[in-house]
């Protein structure tokens, strides 16, 4: 069949042979699975190397390293996360409020925004912002170390790069993501309270009652559980991409872009999977 298709300028760019197309799809699937597998073993090896040191009665990494990355990833991200969530909270409260006002149900706005942010939007937005801000930074930093042979030098000294470089970064993201998600939700709820008071005549005290009565513990727990997962994902993707860099400065650029795209896609995909599993098993 392949011989039947003449090699011309038109069909050179778009492959029309179904066998070749299926082959291409198969190859893409295979490389996707290889990437997922690589990342999975990357996380497993990082945990194994870190706990290995702990089993021998030694600190897995220096506390100062963990706090430095935590300050960078967490404290440094507070203004961005709080501001973006505040503005989104304002917008969401305004838009939903005006629609609900037509039916006289604007008092649902505080609960709606509170649930949406605590359970869904807070962790998701924080994940996307951290993937862009911190994931890119971790990938670029580790990638530069990789191309300048610093990572290999660490390995040559008998120090595990996974324990020394990856573990504190990943732990910082896992530990700080829930805190940032909470800040995101609080900022959005605060913005909603301003809109509720200014446009819908809902007093602060009543607003509080409405938020507290609509929020369930399981909404808060779900949001926090997701945040831990997203932190692990962003940290793993960023560090994996950083340590896989090859090809000098251009390679660092490509890896950084890929890290942000992969992390954001992974966060959204895992959020969907999490929601489906949650709704099916814990209705």
């Amino acid at each position: 069949m392949a011989e039947a298709i003449p090699e011309t300028e038109e069909n050179r760019s778009f492959e029309t042979n179904p066998v070749v197309v299926v082959q291409g799809v198969g190859q893409m699937g295979r490389s996707f699975l290889a990437e997922v597998g690589g990342m999975f073993w990357f996380i497993v090896n990082t945990i194994a190397e870190t706990t290995d040191n702990m089993r021998r009665g030694r600190a897995p990494f220096r506390a100062s390293s963990f706090f430095r990355h935590s300050a960078r990833a967490g404290v440094g991200s507070v203004p961005l996360v709080a501001m973006v969530s505040f503005f989104l909270g304002l917008t969401m409260a305004l838009l939903t409020g005006y629609q609900l006002e037509r039916f006289g149900t604007e008092r649902l706005v505080p609960g709606l925004v509170a649930i949406a942010f605590t359970r869904e939007l807070g962790p998701l937005l924080t994940g996307i912002m951290l993937a862009a801000r911190i994931g890119a930074s971790f990938t670029a930093e580790l990638g530069t170390m990789q191309v300048s042979e610093e990572v290999e030098a660490i390995e040559a000294m008998g120090i595990s790069p996974l324990r020394f470089l990856v573990a504190p970064r990943m732990l910082a993201l896992v530990a700080l993501m829930p805190c940032l998600s909470i800040i995101s939700s609080l900022a959005a709820i605060f913005a909603t309270s301003l809109i509720s008071v200014a446009y819908f005549n809902i007093a602060f005290v009543y607003f509080n009652d409405l938020v507290l009565s609509s929020l369930l513990i399981r909404d808060i727990v779900t949001g926090i559980a997701k945040s831990f997962l997203f932190g692990l994902l962003i940290g793993a993707v960023a560090c994996y991409r950083g340590l896989s860099v090859s090809g000098g400065a251009a390679g660092v650029g490509i890896a950084t872009t890929s890290s942000v795209v992969t992390a954001i896609t992974a966060v959204i995909a895992f959020d969907t999977v999490f929601n489906v599993v949650y709704v099916v098993f814990f209705p």
Partner: protein, 264 residues
Amino acid sequence: MNNSTPPHVVELRDVRLQFGEKKVLEGVSLAVEPQERLVVMGQSGSGKSTILRLVLGILQPTAGSIFFQQYEITRLKRRKLQQVRTQIGMVYQYSALLSSRSVRDNIALPLEELTTKTRAEIDRIVDEKLEMVGMLATKHQMPSELSGGMKKRISFARALVMDPELILFDEPSAGLDPVISSVIDELIISLSEQSKVTSIIVTHEMDSAFRVGTKMAMLYRGSIIEVGEPEKFKQSKNPVVAQFLSGSTEGPILEGTNDAIATK
């Protein structure tokens, strides 16, 4: 083992390495005796630095065995390999100092991470090693504040900090002016004599190679084609070695390569 002959510090037995279709090493066998300074020479891209990475266990050969003392590097488990690496120091071509850490922290890193020494002990060792390479004054500086030659000396101090049995030098005088290059060579000689350490030095700079080497090996097209004392090496009848030492464009080295076309 025969007691009259000293055990090899490093031994490569018929080591082969292939990346896909590309054959990098095709049966390399080499032995390095205690306190020897073996210089591995060869063209750029011939696989000299690859040999160092194989000895460190960072690369795995396609076939063959690599021994460091009694350990077969190619068969060691991850944990044991990390322990063995602490007995090997490595000096990289571009120093590979951690740019985010000061000179002191760079040298102290293996001590902090792999030993239970106190801060005072670590500082004493760092000062001692910096003194050995004549760089004590730079202790609190960052690598970005240092010149290429200074960085190289700091990386020597870092390689020495765990008192290794073996030091691997990857192009130690690359990118340095002739004077600093000579200083680095003198440093390699004095450090290896003071610390009674064995060294493998990879270079393609002839002056430097003959200054520091007590034994020479020539790597050509994936194989070791000549090994011997520097004097014997200079008088080699092998046309490849002779051309390499003379730096002539006429001879077998460039035959069939793109460089041959460029010289015409």
